[in-house]
């Protein structure tokens, strides 16, 4: 069951991250983290569009959050 394995990995991930000891960066030193290039997506609509194209043309999907949104897959 992939679901059970997935739940086990989530649990492991949560506990591993919880145990990590990374020194917090002070709030006043976080300006560069807010740069556009530091965001996870180029843009939300671009990510949605590109995700739909790749999901339609490749066997793989998932990994970017929630699923859904029709076919368009010929």
């Amino acid at each position: 069951m992939r679901l059970l394995r997935w739940v086990a990995m989530v649990t492991l991930l949560s506990s591993t991250v919880g145990c990590s000891n990374i020194e917090a960066v002070p709030a006043w030193e976080r300006g560069y983290l807010a740069e556009p290039g530091m965001q996870w997506e180029l843009s939300r609509r671009e990510a949605k569009f590109a995700g739909h194209v790749y999901t339609s043309k490749e066997a793989s999907s998932g990994g970017s959050g929630a699923a859904g949104g029709g076919c368009g897959c010929n």
């Binding site: 992939r2 679901l3 394995r5 997935w6 990995m9 989530v10 991930l13 949560s14 991250v17 990590s20 990374i22 917090a24 960066v25 002070p26 709030a27 006043w28 030193e29 976080r30 300006g31 560069y32 983290l33 807010a34 740069e35 556009p36 290039g37 530091m38 965001q39 996870w40 997506e41 180029l42 843009s43 609509r45 671009e46 949605k48 569009f49 194209v53 790749y54 043309k57 490749e58 066997a59 793989s60 999907s61 998932g62 990994g63 970017s64 959050g65 929630a66 699923a67 859904g68 949104g69 029709g70 076919c71 368009g72 010929n74």
Partner: protein
């Protein structure tokens, strides 16, 4: 002074340089530390604050697949799909803690696609195309509401997609919340989609009237600030589909009625202060119960040019073939398919994206090339003759205002 520093923090770039020149034992910084830390400044790297502006945007993309190589064609039209995609959206803050986004997308498709794989006069595998050009139009409408609080946010989305032969209604819920020191963000989402396929009986024979498909998906991820210029994330997703998963437009296609897949995805961002640019790296491992594994690696460099930006990017993708795939479908087994999308192959994408700010308007442009080939794959397996290559171009404008 307090207000000036707070404003400086909120307006990222120049301000970070100013702030980082302040000694950490500065009484100003010390007295404002808690207040600054509580500001909802660092959108997306952490749980979001409500958008400060109303945003209205319009994008147009043209997607065009290369014609099938004549050596790989047995019968039919070599021309493949062209798709025109229009995206329109408005996103606005509502009150002090909510936002609402309304998205509309229209896909206009035309062209032919592989019907099945046979052999040519030399005995080599070749594609029989679907014959006459297929016309289809898809309209997708989505609404997202989001609530923000001091340590996180939560959103609810409903999306309806309708085309001639396919209808889907999807709901999703997501949430993100921060650690006490705002260094770590947990995020989770769940979604469900109720789909219905009713193939159009025109160009090629199909053997069903209407079938249903249900899909549920879960995601859990964590992002962590490593340094003042780097951040990393890792996430896991699980998706299960139950229902009709066969492609009704393929002559020789019979797939299992259940499909489980998991992904492990990671991302890393590193800002280079001297260069004024950011290195973006993402990797995804995918595994499903149809026997397919895949690796996806994306690398981009986002160069800031004042208020403008230029982003070249590369993507490498490789997948193994599904257990029931064969170049020419073996219809003597329970499940079979000759769909190139289930074959073993690799693909390389190269693209360039640019944004230009003109007053309150952002103008974007993007060009991308996708090439796939069996020889690009990390896995063994025979080459499917129907692999696709395509170009994609996008232009768009976004207006932000109070």
């Amino acid at each position: 002074m307090r207000q000036a520093v707070a404003v400086a923090v909120t307006k990222h770039r120049l301000d970070s340089a100013v702030l980082q020149k302040l000694p950490t034992d500065s009484p100003v910084v010390a007295s404002l530390g808690a207040a600054i830390a509580s500001l909802p400044t660092y959108q997306k790297a952490f749980a979001d604050a409500p958008p400060a502006f109303t945003e209205v945007g319009l994008r147009y993309s043209h997607y065009t697949e290369d014609s099938l190589d004549k050596d790989l064609l047995v019968f039919g039209d070599r021309d493949r799909y062209d798709i025109d995609v229009t995206q329109l959206w408005i996103e606005a803050p509502v009150g002090g803690a909510w936002s609402v986004a309304f998205d509309v997308q229209n896909d206009s498709m035309s062209g032919a696609s592989p019907w099945f794989v046979g052999t040519n006069l030399d005995g080599e595998p070749g594609v029989i195309m679907s014959g006459a050009s297929i016309q289809d139009n898809r309209v997708e409408v989505g609404v997202t509401t989001r609530y923000f609080w001091a340590d996180g946010n939560a959103g609810f989305n409903v999306t309806h997609s309708d085309e001639d032969d396919y209808e889907a209604l999807a709901f999703s819920f997501d949430a993100a919340w921060n650690s006490d020191d705002n260094s770590r963000t947990w995020s989770a989402s769940a979604s469900t989609s109720d789909d219905s396929v009713a193939p159009v009986k025109e160009a090629i024979p199909v053997f069903i009237d209407q079938e249903e498909l249900d899909t549920q998906s879960l995601y859990f991820g964590v992002s962590q600030v490593l340094t003042s210029t780097s951040i990393v994330r890792v996430g896991l997703s699980y998706t299960i589909s139950d229902g009709y998963l066969t492609d009704p437009y393929k002559l020789a296609d019979q797939r299992p009625s259940e499909h489980e897949r998991v992904t492990l995805n990671t991302g890393y961002r590193q800002y280079f202060v001297e260069a004024g640019g950011a290195l973006k790296m993402d990797y995804r491992f995918y595994n499903d119960d149809w026997g397919t594994d895949s690796h996806t690696l994306e690398v981009a460099w986002q160069q800031s040019l004042g208020r403008h930006s230029l982003t070249p990017y590369l993507r490498y993708y490789s997948q193994s073939q599904a257990d029931f795939f064969s170049v020419i479908a073996d219809t003597s087994t329970d499940f079979y398919a000759d769909d190139y999308r289930l074959s073993s192959y690799g693909a390389i994408t190269a693209g360039l994206r640019g944004t230009v700010m003109i007053g309150d308007w952002e103008v974007e442009g993007q060009l991308e090339r996708y090439d796939s080939d069996n020889s690009f794959s990390l896995y063994g397996g025979d080459a499917a003759p129907g692999l696709v290559d395509f170009w994609r171009a996008t232009v768009g404008v976004t207006l932000r205002f109070d």
